[in-house]
């Protein structure tokens, strides 16, 4: 619990630094997978909240937090691991006001999975996350809603984890 509290405090602190005026909030659905060029990818889905402010590079810098999990898929495929991601993802938008908007993003956060049985209580079941991604957003309805795609590289891939280096994400959002 200590690690999770630290993560959320960090996110809250950075968000506060951005200031409260002229803020744009968005909410969306984010999915994430690992590319390994083989069928049967592991997918994670979850909500994502975004915030930008005129003081943060004229809205070019967007701060996002996301909770991604395999628990939804686990309902249908009970043998997959129950894994969660808690991500803070600052993204830089190169053309925030245009339809085609190239982006670069870093993902900082934490992941863990349930060990589910006493037999596996000694497994290392968590890891920090640090990834760099690049991609693009498509701004629709004059930026009221849109979608994005990005791909990149996970720099932390411990021996005991289900974190692979090649990562990509898809998402949709709507402005609040």
């Amino acid at each position: 619990m200590g690690k999770w509290s630290s993560i959320w405090l960090l996110i809250a602190g950075l968000s506060s630094l951005a200031g409260a005026g002229e803020g744009l909030w968005s909410v969306g659905l984010r999915t994430q997978g690992f590319y390994d060029f083989e069928p049967g990818n592991d997918w994670f889905e979850g909500p994502e909240i975004g915030y930008s402010n005129y003081n943060l590079g004229s809205h070019r810098l967007q701060l996002k937090v996301a909770y991604l999990t395999s628990r939804l898929e686990q309902v249908f495929r009970e043998n997959i691991l129950k894994q969660d991601y808690f991500l803070f993802s600052p993204a830089w938008h190169f053309r925030r006001n245009r339809f085609f908007d190239p982006i670069v993003q870093v993902d900082l956060g934490y992941t863990r999975f349930d060990v589910e049985s006493e037999i596996f209580k000694d497994l290392d079941n968590d890891s920090w996350i640090a990834a760099a991604q690049a991609g693009f957003a498509l701004n629709l309805g004059q930026g009221e809603y849109g979608l994005y795609y990005h791909f990149g590289y996970n720099f932390i891939t411990p021996e005991s984890s289900m974190v692979y280096p090649g990562v990509f994400g898809l998402g949709i959002w709507v402005m609040l």
């Binding site: 083989e38 009970e78 043998n79 691991l81 049985s117 037999i119 596996f120 891939t157 289900m162």
Partner: protein
């Protein structure tokens, strides 16, 4: 002129990259290797690669068991891992076939995987399907010869091959195997870069992995990208099968032994196997996480540095348990 300069620089860069990739791709066989001290050289093959050898496979050693032996003898087919050879299970064979430890009833069949234990060219041109064929051949032959008590012991990639056969129902043709003993099965590689082998493989090419002198004589030192691709295809296939779930044959049991700190096979694989491979009644198989830093703790010979007393004790305990379980009545 400016454009020509750019093209020239780009061409030079491409040439250097190609040259570099060719250098890296080149299989590593130094003087020591060429003299036959490495398995890769082809000068010092695994004795079990000789089809006339009568010391490795039980089907060759005892092809016509008596009626009493068919029921009394317990055969364990031992399957080694990626780049390894039958050397990996020699200690277990020595232990189990000892009349005291094995009670005179255990026979260990050392299977050499396809493409392994001979020379690097054979390895490079083989697929994971080729690797597994000798397992099925030995099992089918033993069944035809009338052996009624057959179990399997496997290490690392050998376990991935066996699980793939279990999931496909290819070991359900004869009497159901009694036990599967999985030692450090690989389902998720510890080195996660392997997941990008299709992308970085052509750049990285060959990935030599030298060990002790003894290990270099019994494991391929070179790991060509073609084989790494085959390995990843296999483990990813097994991972997907486990996530979909499958069952062991009726009356068959299995136990996973997994090192907690393993630089080859991610320990999380044991959890995936525990969840995904069930007994025929739907109950869980057995699993044990071992406090060890060795990959395949059942092989201690030839390690550098020398294994600890704790590793030796662990090896002995696992050996005893495997024998006791395989000999026990259902």
């Amino acid at each position: 002129m400016k454009r020509f300069g750019k093209i020239a620089w780009a061409g030079a860069g491409l040439a250097l990259l190609t040259l570099g990739a060719c250098q890296i791709n080149k299989a590593d066989c130094d003087l020591e290797c060429q003299k036959g001290f490495w398995l890769d050289s082809g000068l010092n093959p695994d004795p079990c690669s000789n089809p006339l050898d009568s010391t490795c496979l039980v089907s060759h050693r005892f092809p016509t068991p008596s009626d009493s032996d068919k029921a009394a003898k317990h055969v364990i087919i031992a399957v080694h891992g990626f780049t390894a050879s039958t050397y990996e299970w020699e200690e277990f064979k020595g232990f189990a076939e000892d009349t005291v430890n094995g009670h005179g009833r255990s026979l260990i069949s050392l299977v050499l995987l396809g493409g392994h234990g001979t020379n690097l060219d054979a390895f490079q041109s083989s697929s994971w399907k080729d690797w597994g064929k000798p397992i099925l051949t030995e099992y089918d032959t033993l069944v035809k010869q009338g052996y009624q008590n057959i179990s399997f012991a496997c290490a690392s990639t050998g376990c991935a091959l066996l699980m793939q056969y279990i999931a496909d129902g290819q070991l359900a043709t004869g009497p159901a195997p009694k036990w599967f003993f999985l030692i450090d099965p690989i389902v998720v590689p510890s080195e996660k870069l392997l997941s990008l082998v299709d992308l970085v493989g052509p750049i990285l090419g060959n990935s030599p992995n030298p060990g002790s002198d003894e290990e270099n004589r019994h494991w391929y030192v070179n790991r060509p990208q073609e084989d790494l691709k085959e390995l990843y295809t296999l483990v990813n296939r097994v991972k997907n099968q486990l996530e979909s779930g499958f069952e062991l044959p009726k009356n068959t049991n299995a136990k996973v032994y997994k090192s907690l700190h393993d630089q080859s096979a991610d320990p999380v694989g044991a959890l995936l196997i525990y969840k995904g491979m069930r007994k025929s009644d739907g109950s869980h198989i057995e699993a044990e996480m071992l406090d060890s830093r060795l990959h395949v703790v059942t092989r201690l010979k030839g390690r550098d540095p020398e294994p600890s007393a704790a590793d030796s004790a662990l090896q002995l305990r696992v050996f005893k348990e495997m024998i006791d379980k395989s000999l026990a009545k259902p």
